[in-house]
Symmetry: C2
Subunit: 214 residues, 2 copies
């Protein structure tokens, strides 16, 4: 499968590398190309990895991952282009975190709206699926880093797009992703971030995850 990754941070690199290792062709996009981080990532990941602009990556991908900082995601997606995203599965991994007032971060949107919903409204022809935003980037692609069973969640308005994302999550090692329903569930998923940050402080590791005991 051809996959576009928007964003060259830890999340984008981690997901890109895993997706290449699973046999996909992956193009990493950044605001301006050439971008040193994207070029280094592509170099390190062999012939199935490439780099370009946000628009290049979005056009290339059959599935596109939004791995940009939540505070600039809408702007980055505009640069990627509505035409390049139309009809495609757009996996929104971002969190609308605001670090401008120091730690712990607050959210730029929550409660009655969410970044996932904002993206779906701004790009009505994309099939947006919120996923992986509640998990540290190392654990995203290697669930076994955290002992025992634990959970990953997704939501979105398009059942087929969610089925495609579940397939990708299973390839990452997630056995039974929990589907929370339509995109309004992104409010709850994004609002898990404040407690995630406090938990990281309390237990002194990023390698933890939520399990829904039942």
């Amino acid at each position: 499968m051809r996959i576009g990754i928007l964003g060259t941070g830890d999340v984008g690199c981690r997901l890109g590398t895993k997706l290449v290792s699973l046999g996909n062709d992956v193009r990493m996009g950044s605001r301006a190309a050439p971008n040193p981080k994207a070029a280094a990532w592509a170099m390190a990941n062999g012939p199935k990895a490439s780099a370009g602009t946000f628009a290049d990556a979005a056009k290339f991908g059959e599935v596109v991952f939004n791995c940009t900082a939540g505070s600039v995601s809408l702007e980055a997606l505009k640069l990627a282009g509505a035409d390049n995203l139309g009809g495609k599965v757009l996996v929104d991994v971002a969190n609308p975190l605001d670090f401008s007032k120091g730690m712990p971060p607050t959210l730029t949107v929550c409660n009655t709206d969410s970044l996932g919903e904002q993206i779906q409204r701004a790009f009505p022809d994309a099939k947006v699926v919120k996923a992986l935003n509640t998990i540290g980037n190392e654990v995203m692609v290697k669930p076994r880093l955290v002992p025992g069973e634990h959970d990953t969640f997704l939501c979105g308005n398009d059942p087929q797009a969610k089925a495609k994302v579940v397939e990708i999550l299973r390839a990452f090692g997630w056995k039974s992703p929990i589907d929370l329903g339509d995109m309004t569930a992104a409010r709850g998923l994004e609002m898990m971030l404040p407690v995630w940050v406090r938990l990281m402080g309390a237990i002194q590791t990023r390698n933890f995850n939520f399990k829904i005991a039942r």
Copy 2:
């Protein structure tokens, strides 16, 4: 120990009954006494259970539980009286849920503030501890209802008050409550409610709980 319970709903009754069964003297408070629900609860729970106004219950308790609806908690606590709460451990179990716009509920306060913080600011002489708000009321007092290990959280500004609440949680069956720090962590704990509600819908039971796999 003498315990005051503010609120006659499912949470107040469940906690009150458990606390009586553990050998405590418990007074349940309501806006106006006599209150039929509080009277029935007291009758059903024998000589260690009693009922009165919010102020009666707050005055009676060495530890006081706020089990009122989050949307009216500040008002209920004012009726309980700052003098009756001063110097005491006030366990805030409430969530600031707003059901006025239908399901799923939104929060009346979140992100940059929380109900726990509002209560601590309004009653600076009380030792407020946020606890149990992320757990369905049956599971609160009977963790074994949910299979396997799973977690309960608390936060607050007073270490001794938190130690007292940990003691009570252990008596309920919670082995290792996770202390998330000062009262600002109540933001994260209360913001878990939206995903809690979606999870309840997705897995069709209230008898689930978060475990922090690590």
